[in-house]
Symmetry: C2
Subunit: 250 residues, 2 copies
DNA sequence: GCAACATCGGTGTTGACACTCTTCATGGTT
DNA sequence: AACCATGAAGAGTGTCAACACCGATGTTGC
């Protein structure tokens, strides 16, 4: 059913959403897109349907498509879903990993350690931040792959991309506080990663699962605070956990 | 984007798949369906795309759509996904449930206890089997609802329906062995449900999660054996765990 | 200021056409 | 005679442009 033109349209729109050119909430006009891609509206419609599947796009009857936009409640729910899947995958990875999987995980971990040390030592963190984020992602992907459950892997990846789109990428994490605080956080994250790696390498399924769960819960809380600040337009002070909870009920 | 006709087509095809009229692997011709529903091919195409989203339909370029068919590997992966989500949801339910949620869970549990006793006591199990299955489903749904995570709830429901379609419903479970064995199994399942309920009512998140995990793992193993038997065409004897593992690699 | 109405942008739907894949028949080869 | 390669026909999907319809916006009259 899907065919060449549909795939071209799908790749084109997907890329522009993931790159941030199309931001959350932005309307996606079928005619405009069709003209840009130089195909008719039909394959564009198909592509948008498929993107809706991925969760990247919202479609409402007669109102058209727009880039997915979440409120705090949805964001929290999605994050929790990710936590459930990714910690389960970590538990599987502890049991199912091959030597090659383990090497890949360790490689990403070593790179993260190297980069974190460099960032903590340097005055200017910017040059290495991108690399650090990339290695972090590689670490998590390597673990998913080691779980040997392709379906779960795809699902987690989907949620990762969705997370990236709706959280607005670097809009949030960048410069969220004094460098010292960020450094402390980075070292804590690194330590957690080492714990996770140890559990997986040791074949301890339950521990791998738990450690990954704690790690992600911590990340999620961090993200939720950042997103809540951004949504409320309050940039100067943190919301308390209770305020955060309530703001999710809008 | 979706509209009346698309929805009509979606409901129509979905219902026939879920009712078992369209069995796994069966081709779904756009023209034929369009003629039956009395709309053009476009809304039918849209509906099939949406059903692909749900996982109920497979679409390949230029080859058309067919009802989803899984091999053992995919089935195992899907089951494991369900386990991850549903046990996590049980953990959430222990913390987030309202009194009404708890009543709903207890109601289904009481009904199951009543029906199980009746079945064990009776010679002919048939009249009550349908009811028992329904209450079992209600029990699990009530727990999902108590988790207060709508996204997770939808995802679990999706997997439930998918499971129902690809496993071929009653084709497998019915008459899988002597009644005494089935009775033993049913009592064990009931006992596990009671454990799960106790953990949730007691607000013990970790225990609820673990108990649900054990319960589902047991169910999955049971299903995998049944499916492997069915796929191999061997109905007289059980596969060993090892044989089962290998047969998944086809 | 508000309600009914006209306008317009954009989606939903349709039927026709182009293209791809499969199947089956034909003919040549070993 | 059996087998593979070639090609033609048919079935079904992918794509297109035009039309129908809905919802939002702005305008008119009261």
């Amino acid at each position: 059913m899907k065919s060449v033109n549909t795939d071209v349209a799908y790749d084109y729109i997907r890329k522009r959403i993931l790159s941030g050119e199309f931001s959350p909430g932005q309307a996606l006009l079928t005619e405009t897109l069709a003209a840009e891609i130089e195909v008719s509206r039909t394959p564009v419609r198909d592509a948008l349907r498929k993107l809706e599947t991925d969760g990247l796009v919202t479609i409402r009857a007669h109102l058209g498509a727009s880039v997915k936009k979440m409120n705090l409640k949805e964001f929290r729910e999605m994050s929790d879903l990710r936590l459930a899947l990714e910690s389960h995958a970590a538990g599987l990875a502890a049991v199912n990993h091959t030597d090659a999987d383990l090497s890949a995980i360790k490689f990403a971990l070593d790179a993260m350690r190297f980069l974190t040390d460099k960032i903590v030592a340097a005055d200017n963190e910017q040059p290495f931040l991108g690399d650090l984020v990339r290695e972090d992602i590689r670490f998590h992907i390597a673990i998913m792959a080691a779980s040997k459950n392709e379906l779960m892997q795809r699902e987690i990846m989907r949620l990762h991309l969705l997370h990236r789109v709706v959280s607005g990428l670097s809009n949030i994490d960048g410069g969220a506080g004094p460098k010292v605080e960020s450094d402390v956080r980075r070292l804590a994250v690194l330590a957690k990663h080492e714990d996770i790696y140890r559990a997986i390498a040791g074949g301890n399924s339950r521990e791998a699962k738990n450690e990954m769960g704690y790690h992600l819960q911590e990340l999620i809380d961090h993200n939720l605070h950042a997103l809540a600040r951004a949504e409320a337009g309050v940039l100067s002070r943190d919301l308390t956990a209770e305020e955060l909870l309530y703001s999710g009920h809008l």
